[in-house]
């Protein structure tokens, strides 16, 4: 019997993840089949690909995966996809423009998941700076985009950003 007050780490060789016919993330852990699994990043900002909490749909924790890179190729790619679905956080590849029109700030962005547009009522409540060059943008409706490192963006994007950060 496991100690219920201890964090249970799932060893990489005792699990296998796949995608069900309905497009749902599922897997086998310690020989037990789960029709649906939910993934949670425990440190979404610090360690986005490490310490992933695997839970059943009832939100009971099955265990923690230390590092996705230790998994076999298919499991790793499925869990990465699932994380991308659950943590919808497109990465900004280019900032086309940042404009203030009357009292809305409009961002035209190119992201890893296609072009998008964010609208914010103000900047001080909708831009987060978790450290380094990272910026998290949240729009009025709760949609989020991430700039992994604004200093690494192209010249045009940096120009757009100079007066807002």
């Amino acid at each position: 019997m496991n100690d219920p007050y201890d964090i249970r780490i799932i060893e990489p060789d005792s699990l296998f993840f796949s995608r069900g016919p309905g497009g749902v993330f599922q897997g086998v852990i310690d020989g037990k089949t789960f029709e649906e699994l939910v993934v949670f990043r425990t440190f979404p900002f610090l360690y986005p690909n490490r310490f992933i909490s695997i839970r059943n749909p009832k939100n009971e924790e099955i265990g923690i995966i230390r590092d996705i890179s230790q998994l076999d190729t298919e499991s790793a790619s499925e869990i990465e996809r699932e994380l991308q679905f659950r943590y919808f956080l497109p990465r900004v590849t280019r900032v086309d423009s940042v404009k203030q029109k009357n009292d809305l700030w409009l961002w035209e962005l190119q992201t890893t998941l296609g072009p998008t547009r964010l609208a914010m009522r103000n900047l001080h409540e909708h831009m987060q700076f978790p450290g380094g060059g990272r910026i998290i943008l949240t729009d009025m409706n709760g949609r989020r985009c991430e700039i992994p490192d604004w200093k690494a963006l192209d010249n045009h994007s940096r120009m757009q950003l100079t007066d807002v950060i």
């Binding site: 069900g20 016919p21 309905g22 497009g23 749902v24 599922q26 029709e35 649906e36 939910v38 979404p44 749909p57 996809r81 991308q84 679905f85 659950r86 943590y87 919808f88 956080l89 497109p90 203030q100 029109k101 009357n102 009292d103 809305l104 409009l106 992201t111 998941l113 296609g114 072009p115 998008t116 609208a119 009522r121 103000n122 900047l123 001080h124 409540e125 729009d139 009025m140 409706n141 709760g142 949609r143 989020r144 007066d163 807002v164 950060i165």
Partner: protein, 730 residues
């Protein structure tokens, strides 16, 4: 339903029947941005591409249930089919509520239950003209709003002081005209008095004229300045009042999401920025533009050809201003944001100063502050630096005009085509002209500063309260206290309900104890009765009237609250007790304190009832504060009483005293009490056991104890166990 009308014809024509519901998602099934459509008919649920080709189709009867599985920043609509779960659609957070509804609809369909109605709140609203999201409760899109709106709205504050402002403007007009006299007199002096070397009284008269204009100007400037100060201070007072009023009007939910210390700075600094613009700024703009026109008129009268030279640098200046204008606005906002971060930081660490000291983290706090401070310094340099750059630049460009006049005018004087006095007057007017032009940059500064401040202020004022005041409130008078929960569902975030389908009838005068694990929804339950939040579904009635139909003042008059965290305002104990009834007599205050078991300890304080408590005053112990809070509730004489863990974290003797006070307080009032120590709820008429947002058991202490394997019994057992452990430790 408005969203269905948007369904593209290509999809509509392929539907198996009339759509019950349809909506557009903003993500493709692979998680990339893109549009797909989800339609629900009696026979199936389908997902379509915009061109009408089908992605997915599930026939009715194949799904047992549907869920909106919320992620971070987005979510997934999943149907549990006979062959396992299937993803119907993915969406970003903007659409969570509409898909939450879709999930409920699909579940209701498969279970043949009553179908939920789509409420307006659940449909994301977009501006019909530009497609940007609309704020909740507003009809006009912020972007499509007329441009000068912020400015116009700001100016509206000046309206009550119209007459004085007009007087100031008239004075300004006069000063401007008078200011133009001296150069003209100089011209007269040079051309008609000094150069012809005519002796006599002419010189004296011209000098006297100069003196008179100077005196007149000084007098008018003083009066204008005084009016400016008066109007400015009044304006600022009005603004501050309005901002504070809007803050107080906002619901608790607004403050839950924000750090409150930020508003302290806002109320003061933003209103100051707006004031500065409205009084100094507007008078400046009006005055200086008037002066520019007048100067040009005179200059053209004196010598129009030379005046044209003076105009040459103007387009450059105008272009530079236009270019720099938006930049300055942004930099002001940037600077404001760093001040804002600094304020939040100070507010934070000072509020938590005990924790800081206890963990010896002063150094960390200092370095956090220095970092934010450095940032502010950097932004300060940026904005001030830009300003310092602009001033000389404008002066230089303007100076070029003077040089041109000197050269051309000078050669004309040498050639005797122009009188020296006229040239001197032209140069003097030109210098006066460049004054206001240079100030254009200062104006830009003021205006953009003020507009960004006004933006933030109006944002607060425009935020609709989540709990709107009833339009036509029902007069309730003195209520009986009969409270009914009718199928109430509520979540702090929609579709994350904390309370689900609560039904409860409470008789007037009954005492209800709320029991359950932490997070079961007890505090939410109480917050809903106070109408700190509005129910998402269902309703709460008092004596048969819906809470939403009662004016909030009336409601609060009938409800008394003793909260977990007792908050005493800065003031005397007497003032705190009489908080809800400022006209209470000393006797009433003492009587209330006596019932609350507080009288004795208060009398023993050196300052008695006049002891200052709150931020700067005397420190009361937790139990003493509790009893003052109970006294505050007693004097309020509410029909409905709410006690939230009133006896948490006090010793046994104090607890007994508080218990006693409470039992006197609850007599004849409808009472809702939360307590972790179940023993304190023994007096309750009924106990309501909550678990994960639902009522699981209702009954008296004894009835519930008799339930084999019941929740309450488990809770009591667990607590007895715990007290045994404590007994051993103690």
């Amino acid at each position: 339903m408005s969203i269905q009308t948007n369904l593209p014809e290509a999809i509509r024509s392929k539907l198996s029947g009339e759509p019950i519901f349809s909506t557009k998602t903003d993500l493709q099934l692979d998680g990339h941005f893109g549009e797909l459509w989800v339609t629900v008919t009696e026979r199936e649920v389908s997902t379509w591409r915009a061109d009408g080709s089908s992605c997915l189709n599930i026939a009715a009867g194949e799904w047992k249930e549907a869920r909106a599985a919320g992620g971070v920043g987005g979510g997934t609509l999943v149907a549990d089919t006979l062959n396992g779960p299937v993803v119907i659609a993915r969406y970003t957070a903007a659409l969570s509520s509409v898909f939450g509804y879709a999930a409920k609809l699909l579940t209701a369909m498969s279970k043949n239950e009553e179908r939920p109605a789509l409420s307006e709140k659940e449909v994301p609203r977009y501006c019909p003209t530009c497609g940007n999201p609309l704020m909740e409760g507003t009809q006009v899109c912020a972007i499509c709003k007329s441009k000068g709106k912020v400015m116009a709205r700001m100016l509206r504050y000046a309206k009550p002081y119209k007459s004085r402002m007009i007087l100031a403007a008239v004075l300004l007009l006069c000063t401007t005209v008078v200011e133009l006299v001296p150069p003209f007199l100089t011209k007269v002096m040079i051309d008609d008095v000094l150069q012809p070397k005519t002796a006599g009284s002419a010189l004296l008269w011209v000098v006297l004229g100069l003196g008179a204009t100077m005196l007149l100007m000084a007098a008018m400037q003083t009066v204008r300045g005084l009016i400016g100060v008066w109007v400015g201070s009044k304006l600022m007072g009005d603004l501050r009042d309005d901002i504070y009023k809007s803050l107080m009007r906002l619901s608790l939910a607004f403050f839950d999401r924000r750090q409150t210390s930020q508003f302290i700075g806002r109320v003061n600094s933003d209103s100051e920025a707006m004031r500065q613009f409205m009084t100094d700024g507007i008078i400046w703009v009006a005055g200086e533009s008037l002066r520019i026109v007048a100067i040009f008129a005179i200059m053209f009268g004196l010598d129009w050809k030379l005046t044209l030279f003076a105009l040459l640098p103007m387009p450059v200046m105008v272009l530079t201003s236009l270019k720099i204008w938006p930049k300055i606005g942004r930099r002001w906002y940037q600077q404001w944001r760093s001040i804002f971060r600094l304020n939040v930081l100070v507010g934070d660490s000072l509020q938590g100063i005990r924790v800081v000291k206890a963990f010896g983290q002063e150094k960390t706090e200092i370095s956090r502050y220095s970092d934010a401070n450095r940032e502010l310094v950097r932004h300060n340099i940026r904005i001030e630096g830009l300003w310092q750059l602009m001033f000389p630049l404008f002066a230089f460009i303007a100076g070029i005009g003077t040089l041109l006049i000197w050269y051309n005018g000078g050669s004309q004087v040498i050639g005797n085509q122009l009188q020296l006095g006229t040239l001197m007057a032209l140069i003097a007017y030109l210098t006066m002209l460049f004054g206001p032009l240079q100030w254009v940059s200062q104006m830009i500064n003021w205006a953009s500063h003020a507009i960004s401040a006004a933006d933030r202020v109006f944002e607060i004022m425009d935020t609709p309260s989540d709990v709107p005041e009833a339009i036509d409130p029902a007069p309730i008078g003195v209520i009986q206290g009969h409270v009914v929960f009718d199928n109430v569902t509520y979540g702090y975030e929609k579709h994350h309900p904390v309370l689900k389908g609560i039904n409860l009838q409470v008789q007037a005068g009954e005492m209800i104890g709320l029991v359950g694990h932490s997070g079961a929804g007890k505090s939410t339950f109480i917050n809903l009765i106070c109408r700190f939040y509005d129910t998402d579904e269902g309703r709460i009635t008092i004596d048969g009237t819906d809470l939403r139909g009662i004016s909030q003042t009336d409601l609060r008059k009938q409800i008394g609250v003793v909260l977990q965290e007792t908050f005493l305002f800065d003031g005397t104990i007497a003032e705190n007790i009489a908080y809800s009834k400022p006209d209470a007599t000393p006797e009433e205050i003492m009587r209330a304190a006596k019932i609350a078991n507080a009288h004795d300890f208060i009398v023993q304080l050196p300052d008695g009832y006049d002891t200052r408590v709150g931020e700067r005053g005397h420190r009361l112990s937790g139990g003493e504060k509790q009893r003052v809070a109970i006294a505050r509730a007693i004097i309020h004489d509410p029909r409905i009483l709410i006690l939230d863990e009133a006896t948490a974290s006090v010793d046994t003797e104090t607890e007994r005293q508080i218990q006693e006070a409470i039992s006197r307080l609850v007599k004849g009032r409808t009472t809702f009490a939360i307590a972790h120590r179940l023993s304190t709820l023994r007096n309750a008429d009924r106990l309501v056991v909550l678990d994960k947002g639902k009522i699981v058991e209702v009954g008296t202490h004894e009835e519930l104890l008799d339930l084999e394997g019941g929740y309450y019994r488990k809770l009591v057992d667990a607590q007895t166990e715990l007290s045994k452990i404590r007994g051993v430790e103690g």
